[in-house]
Chain length 525, copies 2
């Protein structure tokens, strides 16, 4: 398939007129054709007006119709074949197997949302029937469902060029909710974005949906994205990226005459607590698991284990020695972009030169441009507690180990942490009391609590929470992975005394769609 460097607005191809972006192969430094001229005011206007026009009809598609659309997108993406994987490899430096897995995850995610749409639980249907005889006043007939918020702006992430980009989790969940989507492509993988965008565009046409259901914009800098978030027709924002990028979008969304929700997944260092008996009984095994999790994908995951907390002593020393050995043997890996690589290098340099931090291990030296050389550093709890900057995320394979004097200090560290996506307990059954003491603190800090696993690897399922208190995300009440992500793009509406024929189908007495409903507060299947 010939890449053309066009914006995809509804069913149209539009050539941008502003400064161009061009992908770069991070493994070689080579620039990749074509270049993508940026969209401006006119392109944002066109995408938003088409999205607004599509919004009513798309929001009222039947469960079946909407589910088939999501499944068609998955088929179209699979139909792109090897061309998609090859382009994504060139643009991201990620290996083939990883990208094939990510394509599987992306399409699986779309199919999961199709199943979720069909099941209809997300509508949160509620019926409180009229009580005409009630004293002192009768009750009206009251019914509730959730409806789509309207057009959603989605920002592609650099580190998942498929699963969190053009047709990734934010797009899939917004489309599942009934919201048209306008994607601002990540500038690191425009070719991959164009290919996936064409697949979504084709699915819109095949399913006979209004063209404004999907658009894909390119643009250098933040102008196009900021204009999208500021546009009155856009009703919510999905973003995965840096804390500074996320908070900038939050500020724009709040400054609108109508503020809108922003779901920004930003920054997390994913603390791992090594409890005493586990550390004692299987420190070396833990060190190997830790080093493997840290090295995975050059640490370019929101859930990379950036913080390890344990009690100082011989067991921790043994863990550190084994972790140093494993990481010391880790080959350097190409990072996604030169910008990510230089930010990683700068972050590691700050840690390395911190007078209260000691270097423990570095991975093998780089053998090419933009390579991440893993790093492990160590500090004492008192020093960590005294310096907030040590909680900053360093995106890449970098972790800081906190040596605590005792269990009380471990809890003190837990209590001072910022919001996180994950918190992990490595524990044996004899560590139960300490785990029970930590759990309430960790629930308050993180969206997901793990026992005896590693935080990397986020399952796409119904119970997943990929979220957490600020700065992990801008809105701890939601998740950006898993079927519950659909709730981000919905709001409740109550219908009072509507005649049956005016009621939405799902709320009529005859429950034709067969969804579970809350009848007078009781669940009815």
């Amino acid at each position: 398939m010939q890449l053309k460097g066009d914006l995809l607005i509804g069913q149209r191809r539009v050539q941008g007129k502003l400064a161009a972006i061009q992908a770069l192969n991070p493994a070689t430094g080579e620039r990749l054709e074509p270049s993508y001229c940026g969209g401006g005011v006119a392109e944002v206007e066109l995408a938003c007006s088409l999205a607004e026009a599509a919004s009513f009809a798309y929001g009222e598609t039947s469960l079946q119709q909407r589910a088939e659309f999501l499944e068609t997108i998955a088929l179209e993406i699979e139909g792109l074949g090897d061309a998609l994987i090859e382009r994504a490899m060139l643009e991201s430096g990620l290996p083939k197997a990883r990208l094939e897995g990510e394509r599987g995850r992306t399409c699986g995610q779309l199919r999961l949302f199709a199943a979720v749409v069909r099941a209809g639980e997300w509508q949160d249907l509620r019926i409180d029937p009229a009580l005409p005889e009630r004293q002192p006043l009768p009750r009206a007939d009251l019914r509730q469902r959730h409806i789509a918020l309207g057009p959603v702006a989605v920002f592609g992430a650099s580190n998942f060029p498929l699963a969190f980009s053009v047709a990734g989790g934010d797009t899939a969940s917004a489309l599942a909710a009934g919201c048209p989507v306008i994607v601002k492509a990540h500038s690191a993988h425009p070719g991959t974005s164009e290919l996936v965008g064409l697949a979504v565009q084709a699915a819109v046409a095949k399913c006979g949906l209004p063209e404004g259901v999907f658009s894909l914009l390119f643009g250098s800098g933040s102008d196009v994205g900021q204009a999208l978030v500021a546009d009155a027709r856009v009703q919510a924002v999905g973003f995965t990226g840096s804390r500074s990028g996320g908070t900038a979008l939050m500020a724009t969304a709040q400054a609108r005459s109508q503020p809108i929700p922003v779901y920004a997944e930003m920054s997390s260092i994913n603390p791992v607590f090594l409890l005493p008996r586990a550390l004692q009984s299987r420190g070396v095994e833990l060190a190997q698991g830790f080093a493997a999790s840290l090295a995975m994908g050059a640490g370019q995951f929101c859930t990379s284990p950036g913080l390890v907390i344990a009690q100082a002593g011989a067991a921790l020393d043994a863990f550190l020695a084994a972790a140093a050995e494993a990481t010391g043997a880790t080959a350097a890996q190409t990072m996604l972009t030169p910008g990510i690589h230089s930010a990683y290098e700068a972050g590691v340099e700050v840690l390395a030169s911190h007078e209260r931090v000691r270097p423990l291990a570095r991975g093998q030296a780089a053998a090419g441009p933009n390579q991440c050389r893993a790093g492990i550093f160590v500090t004492r709890a008192a020093d960590f507690l005294a310096d907030e900057s040590l909680q900053g995320e360093i995106f890449g394979s970098c972790s800081l180990v906190i040596e605590c004097a005792d269990e009380a200090e471990i809890r003190q560290v837990a209590a001072c942490l910022e919001g996180q996506l994950t918190a992990t307990l490595q524990m044996d059954s004899d560590d139960m009391a300490e785990a029970q003491a930590l759990l309430p603190l960790l629930e308050r800090k993180a969206g997901r609590v793990l026992v005896n696993g590693w935080p990397t690897g986020v399952e796409v399922c119904h119970a997943m929470v990929h979220g957490g208190p600020f700065p992990a995300t801008s809105d701890a009440r939601t998740t950006s992975v898993g079927s519950a992500a659909i709730a981000r793009f919905l709001r409740p509406v109550c219908y009072q005394n509507l005649p049956q024929e005016l009621l939405p189908a799902a709320l009529r007495d005859a429950n034709l769609e067969g969804c579970s409903r809350l009848l007078d507060g009781k669940r009815v299947l």
Copy 2:
């Protein structure tokens, strides 16, 4: 019961040290004893530290324990007897029957939330069991529940001194969610607030809960409230009041180093659409219903019908004549405070002197201080569309009728409306096509859509939505009335591979609390 003018912080009585507030009988202008000295930094600090300390234990109370606490609050409020009603009458100018009804609503609300807590649906329990044999990778055991956000700041509203004040809907839903509550009392009814605060304080003690579960602060001006919302320990805010007050709290919440959700219910003019056949067939009846809804409680309801939209012509003229007659016969009613009365007068004056607006009717002249004289005004759709200021809420019995040239202009008015709490269709069965054309617009604008009713009167039930897009509220994804309000104070947490004994009781294999759960995405009772 002797009122003392104290702040109630945990189980303590604390005398404020800053400027005092004193209630005023709006019907007479008389000042009411005692005066309430304002709390300052020290009192906010104490309330927040107690709330934070109570937060973990209270958040993990059993469903049964928490439900009994809510029921005990209701009993304690009822135990205050006539003293509560008498004080509330003096402070609000509201009639006895209305306040007795409001007390019933307040206690009924607490008992509804007790039932909701016991049913446990609000926990949104989800279990995706481990799939150890799955290829290419096994799935971990993943479970999800919703937990309490932490301490919540609640601002009492002036217009519901019981049902939306100290133990009103925000407090009841936050306590139901497992959040400690710190109430900033509304300065218009401090005595009522102290009485209800004492009832909640007593319930905390009787139920053996940590004292920080509830505190009640007084303060003139906005300093105490702003300090509360800025405090790092407070995790969410419930507010009912003006648009300026709500947006000030939103700004403070967003400026924190950790932004928090603000649920502000602010401003709505509650459009009522009179469709042609209904207007033709029963215009006089509609006019009487409209005038009654407008007069109710001197229009001091968030859902007062402030906007009527219909096609110009003989049928509308007949409606207007009947509405003018009914409103002309309406006696003036005492408003809640001199401030609300003067804002009402100023708002009516702006309408009356607007060159594109014509006065239709005023209620009977005031017979005492602070009385609301109802007003109906008329303008043409083109003039309404051209002047945004005509969408501003005038709190009190004041409504603007929009004359439209045709059905297209009716839809144009609907499309230009700001966010609303309610939108109402008055229709006959022959109006179905027009209603179907309007419904998608109204769903996007309002939290509740009514047919052939009046928006005043908000049922406390499971299907209610008292919410809507900005500026009706700061967060359209929720409701502040009804059992779904509990969701405002919760967030999801996922548990990965936790041993049974570390899991929260509701998520263990043995479903001891008997709540419905989503098993692999399927609802299981």
